[in-house]
Symmetry: none
Subunit: 192 residues, 4 copies
Amino acid sequence: MPKIIDSEQYRKELLSKCFDLFAEKGYANVTTRQLSKELGVSTGALYHYFSSKKVMFEQLVEEISQQDVRMLSDAAKKAKTLTERIAALEACLIENQDYFVKQAVIWTDFYQHTELEEVLNNPVFKQVDERYEQIMMTLLGLSDAKLARFIWTLINGVLLEQVSTDGILSFTEQIELLMKMLTAYFEKHSTQ
Amino acid sequence: MPKIIDSEQYRKELLSKCFDLFAEKGYANVTTRQLSKELGVSTGALYHYFSSKKVMFEQLVEEISQQDVRMLSDAAKKAKTLTERIAALEACLIENQDYFVKQAVIWTDFYQHTELEEVLNNPVFKQVDERYEQIMMTLLGLSDAKLARFIWTLINGVLLEQVSTDGILSFTEQIELLMKMLTAYFEKHSTQ
Amino acid sequence: MPKIIDSEQYRKELLSKCFDLFAEKGYANVTTRQLSKELGVSTGALYHYFSSKKVMFEQLVEEISQQDVRMLSDAAKKAKTLTERIAALEACLIENQDYFVKQAVIWTDFYQHTELEEVLNNPVFKQVDERYEQIMMTLLGLSDAKLARFIWTLINGVLLEQVSTDGILSFTEQIELLMKMLTAYFEKHSTQ
Amino acid sequence: MPKIIDSEQYRKELLSKCFDLFAEKGYANVTTRQLSKELGVSTGALYHYFSSKKVMFEQLVEEISQQDVRMLSDAAKKAKTLTERIAALEACLIENQDYFVKQAVIWTDFYQHTELEEVLNNPVFKQVDERYEQIMMTLLGLSDAKLARFIWTLINGVLLEQVSTDGILSFTEQIELLMKMLTAYFEKHSTQ
DNA sequence: AATGAATGAGCGTTCATTCAT
DNA sequence: TATGAATGAACGCTCATTCAT
């Protein structure tokens, strides 16, 4: 029980430690006792850093979205042509497969456990949603926001499939297939 | 004998009545009291027909898969060419949009609340998974099981997106887009 | 664990059983576990009959006020002259000393743990307050509501004193003294 | 030596600052965090000056009793006849109405949260009780200790009534009425 | 077959108190 | 002295499940 000096720093550490637990069991199936045990602190300490389990989860979701943006932004930097961009996205997803699967699970869980009105009115989540749209537009050099969002939707579909099959189906294969579909679609619809 | 039939019939009625509740609130957020109230029976009666809440949910999932197969089979009957088949799938999904969204939510919820090992070892769910694979193969006239499964995965991605945006994004548009992508992919890869 | 048939009846029994506990320890110092143990039921059963600890306490307060009115009404019946009325009040208080002391403690506790606005706006408690006023007016044949209320106030002072001294000071003596004061006051101010 | 004096002085300052908080919310409803925030110190500092919340409360009660004695003693100084004494008591109570109401609340709270045996065996509180008795005897020139104590009891009844009605009933009126009763009683029983 | 009262482990949360700094 | 992060027992309450009727 060393005394924590950088409180903000420690809060983020706690968040990153609870990522796996929430991803594996889901919000409703993780108890605060499990959380505190896993994080190596008392339940009281948890409430010192987060005003409730719900708030903790929300802050985790926020944290994740920032990390996603960071990862995908980095992936986009070197790619120039559409083919290169698609390859870069594919590589980033495959490289960070475990992370992205967990992330997708947590988002799904979040939407499932939050009142819709609350989600839609929450400025943080509006912004997060827009960030995903934006990053997909930038990454693939698209001008159509809906298309960008749609591609992210399909990726999420593949990520969530991993959960239900525990990776029996090859993630790499599926992402490659998805990217081939995208390529076919772009080829067909950009030349017309 | 007639009593058993009635009882079985009644069990199925109860299941279909709890579909909406589970889809809207999620497994963990529905209490047995809510269920019994909604179904118009006592909690005791619920336990007469289902040995636990979990079993009830599992039987619902099974029931859903059978209904899915029925709906998609019907859709496939008249279609002959690949284009017609894709159109039929699109029409079926759009026509039963609400149902399929709820169904996808329930499946996701199910996987999130069940230990993986349990899912993978459960013969019922193995079979259900295979049924989805089979129906997509039949419907689209595919010989590649993985591809069939993959398409179902993408459809699920679009269905779940509806939940998080509450239909702000047009489901019809997205399904159409997905079908266009499939068409482009098939065109490109069947001629090679 | 016999199954309770007359639910309403049983609820009242539970209330009367928790009277002593609340009076001896005070609302905040009685836990629901203590209550359930003392009442011989599970904590769950408590919540079957009362929606919260607070509601339980409020219903107890209501129940008490009704009982008070009953006791004091009975006391008033036979008395005719002012002297007789005062004697009847004195007798009733002394006879039911333990009950009235506990009742006073619970009221005090209630006011101490409830937001004032809530008390003042609560129709039940308004009514209860008026009942005490009314019963004192009837009992002593007064037309002055404020005087009636004031006398009840003084009686409560004596009742609460018993708590802090645990009856070292004779309750009987003090009530007699209070009644003498009342008599002296009435004699002086009715002849003028 | 000067440090000790400062420390002692500071302790008393802290006590006087927490008077309002305890009076308004009650012992059980004030947390040590609230206390430390209100007093402008850390929770650690609180425990430097007081070994526990309970001890803090007890010392406050003691402090109050000393202040009461001081106020009532001052009131008694100039009064000579019984009529003057009663008027002086009345004036003192009315003038310091807010203080005396809070004080009565805290005493009541104290008795409600302390085991009786503990109160009765605690030399400090024995002494405090006697001080009240003494001051009432001195103030009213009484030789009967029980009568003195009884009058203080009635005054407390009126003070506590203020809490439950939030001053809707005039405190001044009620104290005047009480003093009239006392006068009537003294007149009747001193001439016999 | 059906009821709903009863159970009690376990939940999220609080808070008096401690102690490393 | 003084701080406030950390503790963990205990709180009010929930709810899947059982069982007397």
